[in-house]
């Protein structure tokens, strides 16, 4: 047991916790003002609901030592998870590992709602979040990180959640956007963001929290954590700059939304790689993901005409894929002996990464479709058109964010 390691993991858990309300601001600034509170609410209530789901059953299903595909019920209500070290990290209390992982379980379903904001019933959203976490997040988390999970056993590299968190949530976002349909009255491709400073604030806090996300995943206050911290910052910087430059050429001006979107895409893509690549790898990943995600949100989305409102798929799904695959190419064994990529003489790693990406995409796609469709058929997911016109803040929560009169 190490006091230093425990301190770092607990602080990291707190850093990651902040990312969920930060995501609320990142997303909230991009919607119309009649819907901003509902977005902040979705982030906040997810923090509440999944905190409970995780300690009751989620942790057990994810990290319980079960089969290849799912954990078990042995840690129901955190039974057996205590102040002593665990099989996952003997240097820190089992409870510290559990709460660090809880924050990942919370932000992952929160990422998805960027796809269907401004038109979903709150009750259906809540049920979806709980079911999705239990039946999609928890199994995939077990596959990659749980003892006995099949992707982890195969050697898939996912340091801090590129596959488990970002691809998983990104694909779910695409599915939900397709099933729920487009928003009404949004112009050709979507409404204009109502408060860009919120979005920039949210992106800044996400970048800050991401140090806990990635460097905390070292599960210790050590050199690997420092490497993860440095490459996380480097990739985000490279991606933000690249996106801004691409826009400069493509549409004449570097935009703020583009620059912060680039930073988030860079953070997404470095996540699986952060414990395996050096700064050269980080710069390559950051530059590459900015280009790919830009094409995804500015061109591909326009061609297929799905309404992924806030680009949850375009940034997180696509960014996660880029990161997971490039991890297989750029993993440097000098950084971490557990990972050797194609560039360093291990061509097999890329194939393993590809399998883990495709398996996660397939499971998330089918599973999310079934869950979302079931909810739609039983209680309906979409609010009435009249309520959508009024705005979800008033129609679902009886509140509004801004008033004109005192």
């Amino acid at each position: 047991m190490s006091a230093g390691d425990t301190a770092w993991v607990l602080v990291s858990a707190a850093l990651v916790m902040l990312m969920t309300p930060a995501l609320g601001f990142f997303y909230g600034g991009m919607v119309r003002k009649k819907n901003v509170l509902s977005v902040l609410m979705k982030a906040f209530i997810t923090l509440a609901v999944i905190s409970l789901q995780w300690v009751i059953i989620g942790y057990s299903l994810s990290f319980g030592e079960g089969g290849k595909f799912i954990g078990g019920f042995q840690h129901f209500m955190l039974n057996g998870v205590g102040q002593e070290g665990s099989n996952y990290a003997s240097n820190i209390p089992g409870l510290a590992f559990m709460i660090f992982q809880a924050m990942f379980a919370i932000i992952t379903p929160a990422l998805i709602f960027g796809a269907f904001v401004e038109r979903i019933k709150f009750s259906s959203f809540l049920l979806f979040t709980v079911l999705w976490s239990t039946f999609i997040y928890d199994p995939v988390c077990h596959w990659v990180w749980g003892k006995g999970g099949w992707l982890g056993a195969m050697g898939a590299l996912d340091f801090a959640g590129g596959t488990v968190v970002h691809i998983n949530a990104g694909i779910a976002a695409l599915v939900t956007a397709l099933v729920i349909g487009k928003r009404k009255n949004t112009g050709t491709l979507g409404p204009i963001p109502h408060n860009m400073p919120f979005t920039v604030l949210g992106a800044g806090l996400l970048w800050f929290g991401w140090f806990g996300f990635n460097a905390g995943s070292a599960l210790g206050a050590n050199g690997l954590a420092a490497n993860a911290f440095v490459v996380t910052n480097t990739a985000a910087a490279a991606a933000a700059l690249t996106w801004a430059v691409i826009e400069w050429f493509y549409s004449g001006k570097p935009t703020v939304l583009g620059t912060v979107s680039g930073a988030v895409a860079g953070l997404v893509a470095i996540t699986p790689a952060s414990g395996f690549v050096d700064v050269t790898g980080a710069i390559i990943i950051g530059a590459a993901v900015a280009g790919v995600c830009f094409v995804a949100v500015s061109i591909v989305k326009g061609i297929f005409k799905y309404d992924d409102s806030l680009d949850a798929f375009g940034v997180h799904g696509v960014g996660g894929m880029v990161g997971a695959l490039l991890t297989g190419v750029l993993a440097n064994p000098a950084v971490n002996a557990l990972g050797t990529g194609t560039m360093f003489g291990n061509p097999k790693q890329f194939m393993i990464q590809l399998i883990s990406v495709v398996a996660t995409m397939a499971y998330s796609f089918v599973g999310t479709f079934v869950i979302f469709k079931l909810i739609d058929l039983t209680m309906g997911v979409r609010i009435k058109e009249k309520d959508e016109n009024i705005g979800v803040d008033l129609s679902e929560h009886n509140e509004r964010a801004y008033t004109l009169i005192e």
């Binding site: 826009e247 549409s251 583009g258 500015s298």
Partner: protein
């Protein structure tokens, strides 16, 4: 009595106010409005997607004056707001039937100034 409504560029407000004060016109109501004239607004780009024809921010001044102040007011607004560029705005002059000062209940030309 006339009601003068002027649509001006937001950044010209200070100059217009100073010009009005010089002509002894001290009362006005200012509101933020959106609109566009022949230049057809501005383009905005979000994540590479262009939104065309968005409305521009303008200020709307409402000034109620007695007849002898109409010309000086118009001159002051033009002096303060004119840049010679597209989008400088417009001035509308409307007849004004009645005016009541709420505090004293005075009416008409006495109430206006």
């Amino acid at each position: 009595m006339k009601l003068i409504i002027a649509i001006i560029q937001p950044y010209r407000l200070e100059e217009v106010k100073q010009a009005l004060y010089k002509k002894d016109i001290n009362l006005m109501t200012v509101s933020e409005v959106l609109g566009h004239g022949r230049q057809m607004g501005v383009n905005e780009v979000y994540r590479g997607i262009r939104e065309t024809g968005n409305l521009l921010r303008k200020l709307r001044l409402e000034i109620a004056v007695n007849d002898k102040f109409v010309e000086p007011a118009v001159e002051a607004i033009v002096a303060g707001a004119k840049t010679g560029e597209t989008g400088d705005g417009k001035i509308f002059i409307l007849p004004l039937e009645e005016c009541v000062r709420i505090r004293t209940e005075e009416k008409g030309t006495k109430a206006i100034g």
